[in-house]
């Protein structure tokens, strides 16, 4: 079981020590991902999704960032104590990342072919010529004609650039791909093309995927599992069916109720009240209680993960009461 895990994070804590106080970005996050699976990390701005992703590659800027972790292993190898040289070998080779903005992720002074080839050349024992040949293959794989390898990023449109970024990320056939809001900057029809591309490439190379997004719709399209984050903690995680059809946490419920329903346009939205908490000054206990319609005294105390089923966990103390239910109906 252990060896089958591509990623194993135990009790990750990240804080930024700034002049304005200590920003608690990630607070005791545990996450496991099986090989070949894909998980969606969902949450709103400031929930700590990106920081979590950056900690996996030890890319959190230090200072001001302080990362503490009981266990952080990638494909069985310990990341925390790994020397930086070895880590650099892993970045881009075993784990690669796609960033939100394709406009700034590419270097404007190199051709796209050179940029893909560079990544291959750095990580694999191949000649320049071989790397270039494989770069062209990669381009064609993501749907760009190979002859455009000699063009510069500014000659590509937004969607095309994101294809190039995906090509670079997948050039060395990584075991784990971290996609940080890869389609947020793109139009809907282009987003559909991109999701299709990521899905088919993932099947081809059986890459594991962490999809960071704020859009539950994208998660439903592309992930097997979901972890919902709020104020630096995972408050609910499970398979797609667990979280979407048998929602347990009040915050997840609130998220679903905030999305306009395509099938019932007259329905008034029920947004979550209030605002996201200040991470320099988080509420005690469950960080969501000041906004939660079900909050009571228990919620101000330390929260534990409560097991609903083998796959489904929720961090909400109210489930210790036997007959606690939220309003959202279960769909079987």
């Amino acid at each position: 079981m252990e060896n089958n895990r591509i990623l194993d994070i135990e009790n990750l804590v990240v804080r930024f020590e700034t002049d304005d106080g200590i920003v608690r970005a990630v607070n005791g996050l545990s996450l496991q991902l099986e090989k070949g699976h894909s998980i969606g990390l969902v949450g709103e701005t400031g929930a700590g999704k990106t920081t979590t992703a950056l900690s996996i590659l030890r890319l959190v800027p230090d200072p001001p960032g302080v990362v503490e972790c009981e266990k952080l292993s990638l494909d069985g190898r310990d990341i925390i104590s790994m020397p930086i040289k070895e880590l650099e070998q892993i970045r881009g080779k075993d784990v690669s990342m796609i960033f939100q903005d394709p406009m700034t992720a590419l270097n404007p002074v190199f051709t796209v072919g050179e940029q893909i080839a560079e990544s291959i050349f750095l990580h694999e024992d191949v000649s320049r010529a071989e790397a270039t040949r494989r770069a062209i293959d990669m381009l064609e794989l993501v749907g760009i004609p190979g002859e455009r390898a000699n063009e510069y990023p500014h000659q590509f449109s937004g969607g095309m650039k994101q294809r190039v970024v995906i090509a670079i990320a997948l050039a060395c056939h990584p075991k784990l791909l971290i996609a940080d809001e890869p389609t947020t900057a793109l139009d809907v029809t282009i987003q559909a093309q991109m999701l299709d591309l990521i899905r088919s490439l993932r099947e081809k190379y059986s890459t594991s995927l962490i999809m960071i997004t704020h859009d539950l719709g994208i998660v439903a399209e592309i992930c097997d599992e979901v972890a919902v984050m709020y104020a630096g903690s995972i408050i609910e995680k499970g398979t797609l069916e667990d979280v979407f059809n048998r929602t347990k946490h009040p915050y997840t419920e609130g998220l679903f109720n905030s999305i306009p329903n395509l099938n019932d346009r007259k329905a008034m939205l029920t947004p979550i009240q209030g605002f996201t908490p200040d991470p320099t000054d988080l509420p005690s206990g469950c960080a969501f209680w000041p906004r939660c319609p079900y909050a009571c005294e228990v919620c101000k105390k330390e929260q534990k993960d409560i097991r609903i089923s083998d796959t489904h966990y929720v961090r909400c103390s109210r489930y210790e009461e036997k007959d606690f239910r939220i309003n959202r109906k279960e769909i079987s």
Partner: protein
């Protein structure tokens, strides 16, 4: 990338803390030790410039000659020694602060009024007006500033007022271009359009929205401008075109002391040091302000 993300997150959290923009700038400024030293020096210099005239009498202490005591070396009595007319150099350097600084400040004020207004108009309206103003600035900057000063001084006669005007006009194009460059990105912001939709006129938008948001580079330019104006004024005085003798302007003192430099070095060293310290303080303060106003630049 990572840094940017973090910044965004941090600024997202600051939302609940109340803090005005000025306080933020001051907080950043304090972190820079050389800028803090410069600020202290500038405060002292300004203080001296304002109050020196109450401690010394112009006729008695500054211009009255004591031929018997000429060329005395620095001593307990005369800290900086005495010059060829037996006047105390220390008193004259202290008193001269007033001239140097007022020339600097007034000249910069003139440059500002002319340059900032033109730059604002050029940046805000764009098109033909912008081209016209910019070409005009280019022609102006093509002429060496000392030459320009010399020409104006000879045309209008030698007085402290003309000196201020001459230096002010020489530096005006610089302010014009700085302002225009600062206005351009502000002009395209949505809040400018929002003001237009709200029914605010062009003048209102220019002075209420555009100028305050384009102010930081102008403030920096002003601080550094005082330094260059002082330097320019000293240069002109050194050439005998600035503040008329016997006023104790630093450049003029340098010029007078130059004849005796071989034997009495201190006659030139002290006014020279005064110029250097003042210019350096203003420049360092400008540097510090620039970093404090735009923290992105530093990182």
């Amino acid at each position: 990338m990572a840094r940017k993300k973090k910044k965004a997150e941090v600024s997202g959290q600051k939302q609940y803390k109340k803090r005005s923009i000025a306080a933020e700038v001051w907080r950043n400024y304090k972190k820079n030790p050389s800028a803090m030293i410069a600020l202290v020096l500038v405060v002292i210099i300004v203080f001296v410039a304002i109050f020196a005239q109450f401690f010394y009498d112009f006729k008695k202490d500054i211009v009255k000659q004591h031929i018997k005591e000429k060329f005395q070396k620095p001593s307990a009595e005369h800290w900086f020694g005495t010059d060829n007319y037996g006047r105390d150099v220390f008193t004259r350097v202290i008193y001269g602060t007033k001239y140097s600084l007022s020339v600097g400040v007034v000249a910069v004020a003139i440059s500002c009024i002319v340059g900032v207004t033109l730059g604002l108009i050029a940046g805000y309206y764009g098109g033909f007006i912008e081209d016209l103003i910019l070409r005009f600035c280019e022609v102006f900057t093509g002429i060496p500033s000392i030459l320009m000063g010399v020409a104006l001084m000879t045309a209008f006669g030698q007085s402290i007022g003309v000196l201020m005007l001459a230096i002010g006009l020489v530096y005006a194009p610089m302010y014009c271009r700085t302002t225009r460059a600062a206005v351009l990105p502000v002009r395209d912001q949505e809040y400018i359009e929002a003001a237009r939709v709200a029914g605010v006129g062009d003048l209102g938008i220019m002075f209420n929205h555009v100028l305050p948001n384009a102010l930081s580079p102008i403030i920096v330019q002003v601080t550094m401008g005082v330094a260059s104006a002082i330097l320019c004024a000293s240069g002109l005085s050194f050439l005998g075109l600035g503040v008329p003798i016997p006023m104790p302007e630093w450049g003029a003192m340098l010029s007078e002391g130059r004849e005796f430099m071989r034997d009495y070095m201190y006659l030139t060293i002290f006014p020279g040091l005064a110029i250097m310290i003042t210019v350096l303080s203003f420049n360092l303060m400008g540097d510090g302000l620039r970093d404090a106003l735009d923290p992105k630049l530093k990182q």
